[in-house]
Symmetry: C2
Subunit: 196 residues, 2 copies
């Protein structure tokens, strides 16, 4: 066995992080061992704690340490509106606007047939059950405006409308504060088509 | 306490990694919890093992699990030549060339007065003792060709020469395979000055 086995194993483990190649992993391992061993131990404990404690909310699928997440359990939220988002980060972005007081369903991904992510991987059946609880009046599709996000919104929208639910989509358009000269053509074309 | 305390703590811990901002840390935490819990536990174990097992070689300062690293302990290496490098990654780069069969001294950093990294942080006194063991005949300064690496080479070179040691520096010049048209002016100027 090499005299740097545990260092090599650390570099390999760091490479499993998204966006981390071999050079970044080596730089991270060097930094932790040379300058921040306390940080390395803190990260090890945080990984253990998060993997053992975090689970999925029984109602919206987001990460929580409880059976039901804080948002779903909040009686001040408007249970008649349900926003469908891809990830907890997208939910946090909507929350920061303070413009939505309904509840959420977090897909924890997006449809991506090439990666083997189909309707069951994003919990479509659970979403249908959640949205047809008799209280939800409107489902707002807030998936990303990427090709996969749009395809996901399309498939989910069809399934929800087939249940007789009112389904809306976040508006596409020119970002606030933009000068038209610097906005891409597709965005302007969508803003024209969706003008009001 | 929030219902996502352990997730928030994981994001904070990941941010201590070099080059990882809050968005990257959130993406990493999401990936590990949603898609790779096994990877999260593997990383936690690797961090524990590396921090407890890796220490510094008593002769060259690089990371090793032994008292003396495998390179320093290798009797086939030429002990009369000592290359001074900044990091284990730089040492590995030299090793990949297979053009050097001497030994190393790894500074584990570079002089950086603004960051409080002075001669004692890079082990200058240890290097002087190491280089004056009576066996070393030539010290090759192989620090990086950055401003800090050059300054480090300058300071170390002066201290070593004051001990009567033969000190050389890696040659500066045009990278192999380059077209002059695309090489920066400073590199060409150095290649002219160091022409042979
Ligand atoms: Zn929830
Ligand atoms: Zn050594």
């Amino acid at each position: 066995m090499s005299d740097t086995h545990s260092l090599d194993a650390l570099v390999q483990a760091l490479r499993r992080l998204p966006g981390v190649g071999v050079r970044s992993a080596q730089r991270m391992a060097f930094h932790l061992l040379q300058h921040d061993r306390e940080g390395a131990l803190q990260l090890a404990r945080a990984l253990d704690a998060a993997t053992s404690r975090m689970r999925h909310c029984a109602r919206c699928h987001t990460f929580t340490e409880q059976e039901i997440c804080a948002t779903c359990a909040d009686p001040r939220r408007d249970a008649s509106q349900l926003a469908v988002v891809e990830t907890p980060a997208d939910q946090a972005a909507l929350e920061r606007t303070a413009a939505f007081n309904g509840l959420y369903f977090v897909l924890m991904g997006r449809l991506s047939p090439l990666d083997g992510i189909g309707p069951s991987q994003i919990g479509l059946q659970k979403l249908l059950e959640r949205a047809t609880d008799g209280t939800v009046r409107e489902v707002i599709l807030a998936t990303n405006f990427t090709a996969e996000g749009e395809a996901t919104a399309h498939v989910i929208g069809q399934a929800l409308r087939a249940q007789g639910l009112a389904v809306t989509r976040l508006a596409r358009g020119v970002p606030a504060g933009s000068e038209l000269e610097y906005v891409d053509l597709g965005t302007i074309a969508h803003a024209l088509a969706d003008r009001r």
